[in-house]
Structures are given as structure tokens and as C-alpha cells.
């Protein structure tokens, strides 16, 4: 577990360093106010969410192909962390929207598709938690994970093809310059690296916990059977 502790310490240190740059070093965007700094946690959370969901879908495809329990455990863990990151995206976006648009929510295509992605993966996590036996539920959960990942390209396409009000900072449209200051870019891209590290660490720890939990469940079933408990 020593390697896991080092990994966790590295991810935490990266996050703290990026928070320092985002909150205290990067200059405030002209006319945006302090709330613009939410971008440095909102967009990195989105990168981490996409990363986790791609891993969950990829591992689910491997599971369906090879019936590998390790791939299934990875998919379950990555999906759970992906839901956490998606929740951060939606909540921080909503807080920013309340400050800038005076509305917690607006039916923008990108926001709506992100909510759909979150809902699909919440249903995945609920299916894993309450669906019954791990081995029986795994193929159905894998199909949900693979179907759910299609929302990510839909989010990308919707931001290009459909007129929405979600700002486009990273790939500026309409002649925008994006983030001009190098510390702003450091806060954004450093934040993305830090959140991806944190997500990778959480997925790794969660995958190990999932393996131990499944082993304990199997031993308990064997012990119950040996004692004649139904």
C-alpha cells in the first residue's frame, strides 16, 4: 500500500499547488469578477469526469469481450469516481451560472447533455449497488456504461452545432482569445492534470477496495454454505 500512499500524497500536493495558483496567483479576468475562478475547478473536474467515464466504458467493453473480473472491477470503480466528478461539474457550473446568469440552471444543450451523462452513470452506480449478484448484473451494467459514454461526443458536437449560452473558453468561438494570461492557463491545465491525478488515485484505491469486498462476499457465502445458512 506504500505506493498508493505516495500516489495519494502526490495527487493531493498537485491539487493544493493548483488551488494556490488558481485562487491567489492567476489574475482576475477583466469584467468577470472572482467567480470566474470557478473555471479552474469546473473544467478540470469535467476532464477528470470524461477520463473516468472513458475508462469505465473501455473496461466494460473488455469485460464483455473477455469476461475479465478485473476489468469489471475497474469499470465499477471508474464509474463511481466519474459520477463524483460529474457532480462537481454540475454543481460548480450551477454556482457560476447563478452568479453570472442569475439562474441556477438553464436548458443549454451542453448543460442538459451533461445532466443526462450524470443520470446515466448514477443509474449505473445504483444498478451495481442494488441490482443483485455482481456476476449476474455485470453484463447489463457494462452495456449501460458503454451506452452512456456516447453522451461525451454528443456534448462536444452540441457545443459546435447547437446555439447555446455555455461559454467556450478553451476553444474560443466568435473570435474570442480564451485565457490570455499564462498563470490563467497554468491554473486551468495544471488543474486538469491535478484532478486527473486525484481521479486516478481514487479509482485505483476504489478498485482495490472492490476486489477485497468481492473476495470477502465470496468467503462469507462459502462460510454460510458450510454452516447451512440459507
Amino acid at each position: 500500500m506504500r505506493g498508493m500512499e505516495w500516489f495519494g500524497a502526490l495527487a493531493s500536493a498537485a491539487l493544493v499547488a493548483v488551488l494556490y495558483v488558481a485562487l491567489l496567483v492567476a489574475p482576475e479576468a477583466v469584467g468577470e469578477g472572482a467567480v470566474q475562478r470557478i473555471l479552474y475547478i469546473h473544467a478540470p473536474s469535467a476532464f477528470a469526469a470524461y477520463g473516468c467515464i472513458f475508462v469505465a466504458a473501455g473496461a466494460s467493453a473488455v469485460y464483455l469481450w473477455k469476461r475479465s473480473p478485473a476489468a469489471d472491477r475497474l469499470a465499477a470503480s471508474a464509474a463511481e469516481v466519474g459520477v463524483l466528478m460529474c457532480t462537481f461539474v454540475l454543481v460548480t457550473g450551477s454556482i457560476w451560472g447563478r452568479a453570472r446568469w442569475n439562474a441556477w440552471w438553464t436548458p443549454d444543450p451542453r448543460l442538459t447533455l451533461m445532466l443526462i451523462l450524470w443520470a446515466i452513470y448514477v443509474s449505473y452506480v445504483l444498478l451495481r449497488a442494488f441490482g443483485g449478484d455482481d456476476e449476474e448484473i455485470a453484463p447489463y451494467a457494462a452495456v449501460v456504461a458503454i451506452a452512456g459514454v456516447l453522451a461525451i461526443p454528443a456534448i462536444r458536437v452540441s457545443s459546435r452545432l447547437m446555439r447555446g449560452i455555455h461559454p467556450s473558453v478553451i476553444a474560443p468561438r466568435d473570435g474570442g482569445t480564451g485565457l490570455a494570461d499564462p498563470y490563467m492557463r497554468l491554473a486551468l491545465w495544471g488543474g486538469a492534470v491535478a484532478m486527473l491525478l486525484v481521479a486516478a488515485w481514487l479509482v485505483t484505491v476504489r478498485t482495490r477496495l472492490e476486489r477485497v469486498e468481492r473476495e470477502v462476499r465470496a468467503v462469507r457465502r462459502a462460510a454460510d454454505a458450510a454452516e447451512g445458512v440459507v
Binding site: L23, V35, I38, I41, F88, T92, V198, L202, V212
Partner: protein, 50 residues
Amino acid sequence: MSHLGYMFAGYTVVIIGLLLYVRRMVSRLREVDEELHELRRRLGEAGPHR
């Protein structure tokens, strides 16, 4: 709420969310550990009678 308040609310949600998730994993790890002890005890008790 001022813009500064919204900014702190956003960062607080993420930090608290991450800490709660780690805490949940630690508590699940403890539960698994307790269950392992229970299973060892049960298997230890069952062993000599079989």
C-alpha cells in the same frame, strides 16, 4: 451572496466532496476489515467440529 462567496462555495463543494468520498472509502475499508475478523472467528469456531 457576493461573487467571492460564489467562488468559495464552488471550491468548498469540490474539496468537501473529495474529503467525504475518501472518508466513505476508509469506513468501507473498516467494515471489510471487521467482516474479515468475523469470518475468521466463524471459520475458527467451525473448524474443530468438522
